[in-house]
């Protein structure tokens, strides 16, 4: 039976059919739906781990114990999980182990655009690159087979366009892989230096066998067309290239992209006129092709940044094809993402935006949007966890320079569990006087409301104890008198907490708690609640527009509240000095 699936759904389906029994991940666009989909198969234990390193270590443990296991993450997540990955390459596996990295060329929802194909040679693990949903499923199954056959973790590298595009997939049945017998084997699984040195040699020997295999791997294939142009490509770039050149070129379509099939590349290059290498981001294939002495055309004409598309390829390689679209004079105003109407983060950010004496280190999540005007609060965003640790560093530097700015770190609840705790420990241990705001909206909102250790539910829907942020904050050594738990919808309370935080000389924590306005239960509870503007009383001072709420519209010289968006958070009411906003509903 054929059904339409996204690449992520197809990866999960592949895991199901391959008899995978443990899957772990931390949510991150574009990879999130992989685990949401494995969780729908009761045969696969699926969990949101606290971060990607933990997810991969769980998968490693399950694999060593004998189960087929999968860990999935977005590209930057693999940086977090790189530590266990590099050593897992040494230990090898017992049950098959697959690591999925979902890269984001074009930075659609990421802080950078790293090309994680580079991780494969770096960690010396084989890598498969699917180009559509059917291949996502097929390659995932192949990855488990290769993992067990060559005793190695396998990297499955996807990109946004593969993860989130939907295509037809032929479904198969699950083949139970069971849980293999576990035998204690310290020389293989305890990577103390003496054992690691021995495994290092095994790793090289394994790579030799994988190189042999690469030349015969069925997912490295030649599609002959016009032999005047030969295109070497992989992943989504193959689909774009086929779209542009059709039968007008021959293709070497690479599915196993580490190790690369040298003999096959040489054979292909020898039979075609000109060789083009078509790939996104880094010249990963191109560098290798050139190292074999094959002349080719690639990054000289194709961009090294952003996504490829048929359009980009056509412009670079077939410049005679002109543009064929419409245009008009009027220009579209920009439409940047914003904090939603009624978002609880807005109250805290508004309070911070009124202070000129603060510098704010931000983090990864919805609250990154605090950097956008009109709030414009956030000064830095580096990576998950840096909302606390970068703040500690800034504060040390400012102190050294004798500057008075108060440094504030902002981090979300899920991110606090992910990698904020260690930063907070550092702040206490190293006598920092930062103030940390934990924006606890009771969910992992940015990626689409995943559960986390603070919500009391697991990915598979079980009830579990809530891990309380206050208790952790206290346990790492923040003094009771330096902790405030506030509701950010109460501006008086919020501004007071921010003021106290700014005056504190010891590490200080504000837990700003109110559930995400988009959560179903919250929407239900707040249905009917909204604010209205009394146009008689309104002095048109526009102070309310400074909170940056998308429900407030300045139209024909008048501020109005869009009733379909407003859910009555009352922040606009609280900033109005003329009592012109009133609350409707309850």
């Amino acid at each position: 039976m054929k059904t339409i699936m996204s690449g992520n759904e197809a990866v999960a389906r592949g895991a199901y059919e391959a008899g995978c029994s443990v899957a772990a991940a931390y949510p991150g666009t574009p990879s999130t739906e992989i685990l949401e989909s494995t969780a729908a198969y009761k045969e696969i234990y699926s969990e949101w781990s606290t971060n990607e390193k933990v997810a991969l270590e769980i998968a490693c443990g399950a694999s060593i114990a004998g189960a087929r296991a999968l860990a999935a993450m977005k590209h930057v997540g693999l940086n977090v999980a790189a530590d266990p990955m590099f050593t897992a390459a040494y230990t090898g596996v017992n049950g098959g182990l697959v690591i999925v990295t979902a890269d984001d060329p074009g930075c659609h929802s990421s802080q950078n655009e790293q090309d994680n194909r580079n991780y494969a040679p770096f960690a010396k693990v084989p890598m498969l690159e699917p180009s559509d949903s059917q291949e996502c499923k097929d390659y995932l199954k192949l990855a488990f087979e290769l993992s067990e056959r060559f005793d190695t973790p396998v990297l499955l590298r996807m990109t946004t366009r593969v993860c989130h595009s939907k295509g037809l997939v032929e479904l198969g049945e699950r083949v139970e892989a069971g849980v293999k017998e576990y035998k204690k084997d310290a020389a293989k699984y305890v990577m103390a230096p003496a054992n690691a040195r021995a495994r290092r040699a095994i790793l090289e020997e394994r790579l030799g066998r994988l190189r042999e295999y690469a030349d015969t791997c069925p997912c490295n294939r030649i599609e002959w067309g016009d032999k005047r142009i030969g295109i070497i490509t992989s992943g989504i770039s193959y689909q774009h290239a086929r779209e542009v050149f059709g039968e007008g070129a021959s293709y070497l379509k690479l599915g196993l992209t580490y190790p690369l099939p040298d003999r096959l590349i040489r054979k292909f290059a020898g039979e075609v006129g000109k060789v083009y290498v078509i790939e996104e981001n880094d010249p990963y294939l191109e560098t290798h092709v050139r190292s074999l002495g094959v002349e080719c055309l690639g990054k000289e004409v194709l961009p090294a940044c952003g996504e490829l598309s048929p359009e980009v390829i056509r412009k670079a390689l077939l410049p005679a094809a002109g543009e064929n679209g419409y245009s008009v004079e009027a220009e579209a105003p920009s439409r940047p993402p914003v904090l939603c109407a009624g978002c609880p983060h807005r109250g805290l950010y508004y309070a911070l935006s009124k202070r000129r004496d603060v510098v704010v280190a931000g983090d990864i999540g919805c609250y990154t949007l605090g950097a956008m005007p009109p709030l414009s609060v956030t000064d830095t965003v580096i990576c998950m966890g840096a909302g606390i640790s970068a703040a500690v560093g800034m504060e040390k530097a400012f102190k050294k320079a004798g500057r008075k700015s108060k440094v504030i770190g902002c981090i979300g609840d899920s991110t606090f569990f992910h990698s904020g705790i260690t930063g907070l420990i550092d702040a206490v241990y190293n006598k920092s006087s930062v103030a940390i705001c934990i924006l606890d909206n009771r969910t992992t909102a940015m990626t689409g409301h995943q559960e986390n250790p603070g919500t009391g539910k697991t990915l598979m829907g079980e009830d579990v104890p809530v891990i309380e942020i206050e208790k952790i904050v206290k346990a790492v050594g923040i003094k009771e008198e330096n902790i405030r738990v506030i509701t950010p919808y109460d501006l008086v309370q919020t501004e007071k907490a921010v003021r106290e935080a700014c005056e504190a000389t010891e590490p200080f924590v504000i837990i700003s708690r109110e559930p995400c306005a988009l959560l179903k239960e919250v929407q239900k509870e707040r249905r009917g609640r909204r604010c209205e503007i009394d146009t008689e009383k309104c002095k048109k001072c526009k102070a309310c527009l400074k909170i940056g709420c998308p429900a407030l519209v300045f139209k024909e010289g008048q501020v109005v509240i869009d009733g379909s968006m407003c859910n009555g958070c009352t922040l606009c009411l609280q900033v109005c000095r003329f009592d012109a906003v009133k609350k409707v509903g309850d």
Partner: protein, 192 residues
């Protein structure tokens, strides 16, 4: 022959659901289908696009500038933003409806006037309707995406007798309490 449909709108308007129903119908018609969407930060009030390509064999899921056979704009400014993606001679469907972005709301940028007039002057095959009003009159503005689906199915010529049962698919893809409303919305779109 591969055909390309680009649906553009604002987060929350239902472009993804619309594309999903469309893709389902195209599969029933025996086409190879690829559908592509970008989420992430766009969910927070940003510009959202979904792309549907269909034909005997579809390779790339991406539609480039000047490559869309049909452009469906769920909001007027989005029609403006994505117009260069419409192929010369292609069909433009515009929802005559405004959603202001934050820079417009705060007065930092202007919402242009006369968008529809400019589009009508430039594009030969254009369908303009207020799907939001049609849906609101039927019971909920939220069904505007299904009104537009009806218009789109008709424009693509997929409403023939041997076509799939679109009404059934609409019903299967919306919440139970809204099935009748959305069925009426689809019909209103088909007849608009």
């Amino acid at each position: 022959m591969t055909r390309s449909v680009l649906l553009v709108g604002v987060g929350g308007q239902g472009t993804i659901l619309t594309s999903k129903v469309l893709a389902g119908g195209l599969i029933k018609l025996g086409h190879d289908v690829k559908m592509s969407e970008i989420h992430g930060m766009a969910q927070r009030g940003g510009s959202v696009t979904t792309q549907v390509r269909y034909g005997e064999k579809v390779y790339s899921p991406s539609i480039g500038k000047g490559e869309a056979d049909v452009l469906v704009a769920f909001e007027k400014v989005e029609a403006l933003r994505w117009l260069p993606w419409l192929k010369k001679g292609g069909t433009l469907i515009v929802n005559d409806y405004e959603i202001y972005s934050l820079p417009v709301l705060t007065g930092a940028e202007n919402y242009p006037e006369g968008i529809v007039e400019q589009l009508e002057k430039a594009v030969e095959r254009i369908i303009v309707l207020n799907a939001a009003k049609i849906a609101a009159d039927l019971g909920s503005i939220k069904a505007q995406n299904i009104v537009l689906l009806g218009v789109l199915v008709r424009a693509l010529g997929l409403d023939g007798k041997d076509g799939p049962d679109w009404l059934k698919m609409v019903r299967e893809n919306v919440p139970a309490g809204l099935r009748d409303l959305n069925a009426r919305a689809f019909e209103a779109g088909m007849n608009a």
